[in-house]
């Protein structure tokens, strides 16, 4: 039997509990059940269904997502695609999605005992002036239904390859510590379309640490290198550094020391170069993406803006940022959905 006396005792106890509950929840004022990045979503793809459709069985992992920008010069039609490399229980598949709506338009499956040509399919994707290379197969964006062509080139594991020009040249970029000269170096090797080595250029880069990995490399400028710059992203154990080297049509890289920016803190080995700055991924008590706009005049950088990631952060995999700075891709491992998102800046 509940009496008025027990009610009177219950009221302050409940109010106290509520007060404690609210007081301990200051961090909750900004959070709903939907992830913070949802407003930036442009489209979504169900990779589980895509994997099944590609015939590789249940999806195990997503290796690569790259945006391949391509305006067909013949008819000025935008034929850009989002490429995703999926690994399933029964094989692997490269899938091309339409950027608008992320409908799967083509897929190429590497399944044991299936089409031998596709055995050369791989997850490392290089954008070329006419299409892209995935593993050891070269695809033409003009006609994705055509069979890919085997590519004779090779990609060293510690390098990033850029393909530019017509006929195409391959720029194999590395960064490392040269034990002979005891120096941190940026190295670029240029191969012709037959993959014959033409030029090798080396520049010293100023790093406080000898432990480093090449994280990203991009070229912004004219394809003939007459006006542009190479940008690389190198990470040490705790931070990432960006370097910018002016291109030169004759010597690939102009004379002079590269400009540098950093350190930019990061807790994972994920960072990306975009036209609007460097983006790093950080996981601590909170998970967030930080953008550092390019500023080569200061020694220490602070984030230009942040995007806090809420939701099942452990399940989120940031796949890539489009070099133009327009798009980024997030994979939710729990739901097996791939999201294409607009950048927040």
């Amino acid at each position: 039997m509940v009496t008025s006396r027990s009610v009177a005792a219950l009221v302050p106890a409940t109010l106290l509990a509520l007060t404690a509950f609210l007081a301990s929840s200051c961090d909750w004022l900004s959070g709903d059940i939907f992830p913070s990045w949802l407003p930036y979503v442009e489209a979504r793809a169900d990779l589980a269904a895509t994997a099944t459709e590609a015939g590789i069985g249940p999806l195990r992992s997503l290796d690569t997502v790259e945006f391949v920008n391509f305006i067909d010069p013949a008819d000025d039609v935008d034929k850009s695609k989002i490429l995703a490399y999926l690994k399933g229980l029964n094989g692997e598949a490269l899938v091309a999605f339409e950027p608008a709506g992320m409908a799967a338009s083509e897929n190429w499956a590497r399944i044991p005992g299936s089409i031998p040509l596709y055995n050369g399919l791989g997850s490392r994707i290089i954008q070329t002036p006419t299409g892209f290379i995935a593993g050891q197969l070269s695809f033409s964006m003009d006609d994705l239904t055509a069979d890919p062509v085997p590519w004779a080139g090779g990609i060293p594991m510690d390098s990033i390859v850029l393909a530019m020009g017509s006929p195409v040249n391959y720029y194999v970029i590395r960064a490392g510590y040269d034990t002979t000269v005891m120096d941190n170096q940026f190295k670029i090797q240029v191969y012709d379309n037959a993959f014959a080595l033409e030029i090798t250029e080396v520049r010293s880069i100023d790093l406080p640490d000898t432990t480093k990995y090449l994280v990203d490399a991009q070229y912004y400028g004219n394809a003939d290198l007459s006006a542009g710059m190479f940008r690389i992203l190198v990470r040490t154990e705790t931070a990432v550094y960006a370097f910018s080297l002016k291109s030169d049509a004759s010597f690939i890289i102009a004379a002079g020391d590269p400009e540098s920016m950093g350190p930019m803190p990061m807790s994972e080995s994920r960072a990306w170069l975009t036209a609007d700055g460097v983006v790093t991924m950080n996981r601590s008590s909170e998970t967030y993406l930080a953008r550092y706009a390019y500023d080569w005049t200061v020694a220490k950088t602070t984030p230009t803006d942040l995007l806090q990631i809420t939701g099942d952060t452990e399940a989120y995999q940031i796949m890539s940022f489009d070099p133009s700075g327009s798009w980024w891709y997030l994979y939710d491992q729990l739901t097996q959905h791939l999201y294409a998102l607009r950048t927040w800046w």
Binding site: L29, G31, D32, I33, P39, W344
Partner: protein, 403 residues
Amino acid sequence: MIKFSGRAFSVLLLAAVFLGTPSGRAEAQTAGDSAAIVFASYPEAAASFADTLVAAMIRELGDAGFSPASAYDNRLDATLPDSELAGAALAESKVRWAAVVRCSIDNRRVLWRISVYDALDGALVASDARAAFAGLSALPLMDESATLVAEAAAALRGRTAPGASLEYRIRFSSPDDGAAVAFGSGSSSRLIGTIVEGGLVAPYAAFESEVAIVATVSKDGYWTHAHTFKPGLTDEPVTLPALMPRTRHSLSAGTTIGRLVGLAADYRYHIASDSVFLRGSDQVWFQLAPGGGSPATLHDELRLGLGAYLFLPRPSRFRIAAGTGLSGIASVVQSDTGPGGLYFDLSLDAVWISYEWHLPKVAFFVEQRAAYSFGIDSGLLRRGWWQAAHAPMLLTAGAMIKW
């Protein structure tokens, strides 16, 4: 034992003292247990019966929970009435209770009377008078008489001093015009009138001041309320709290932490007033892009469920409601080129708990809820319990109107 003489009866005075020796009313109310017996007899023939009575009273008072009694050993005039004898003994010994025992012989009959008085106000709280053949057969009757008196006195050990009688008519004020007011509650209540223009003057009743009075207020469509008050000696109106209406419908508006750019509306239909209800609610909110640079996402949640008030009386000011139901959330994610993806999540509104403070027409609430998403393909939420940014439950606060 001291014997009084000179009268044709015996007087025995027995006092049981509680917790010390009270000197006044206040002290008497907190007095302890002890006893004293004063014994006087005339003629001698009554002495043996008087001794028996005194012994029986000492024994029975002890058995009834009083401290062991002792004889009152001062001399008193046995011709005085019992009440005066008790008053004199109580004043001198400063004890709480006094039992006066008279015993006399009339021809071949023995007559006795036992009376217990309370020092608090001098009231007679127990008494028994009998007569019997003056022989051995009278002794069991004396024991029985002592037992009855001791038990009757023990039943009133907790009595308090009555207040002074009220000399005015009790006035009530109430916001509930038309409400009937009765003294007492239940079938024994006595209707005293109806609230008119916010007030009622009750017919005169000889209530005592500082004694609790129950006034029952009732009105069609409202929960009956029993209001307890203690009138003072001065004529102060008694303010009756507003009656709680029996709720059939309620409509609320509120907002949710994390959904502050939006509004929730909730309708409840009470299957049983203020007890069990069906609810339907809709909440629309915009999820803003945290870094800017993008249109907000529009969410619309529809909830259907069943709830009930728990634990507390239905007209309570403070109430706890809980329930369960289903939730469907439609989300429209805007793209640069216009309306983008449309998503739909279906969840089990597993449990919600609402803490509410009720006034007659409105109530304020804070609601917690835990929901479980079914993780359907068309949705954005994975299968599992909802997880707000940093909390396992969503908090909603708002106000409701009731009718």
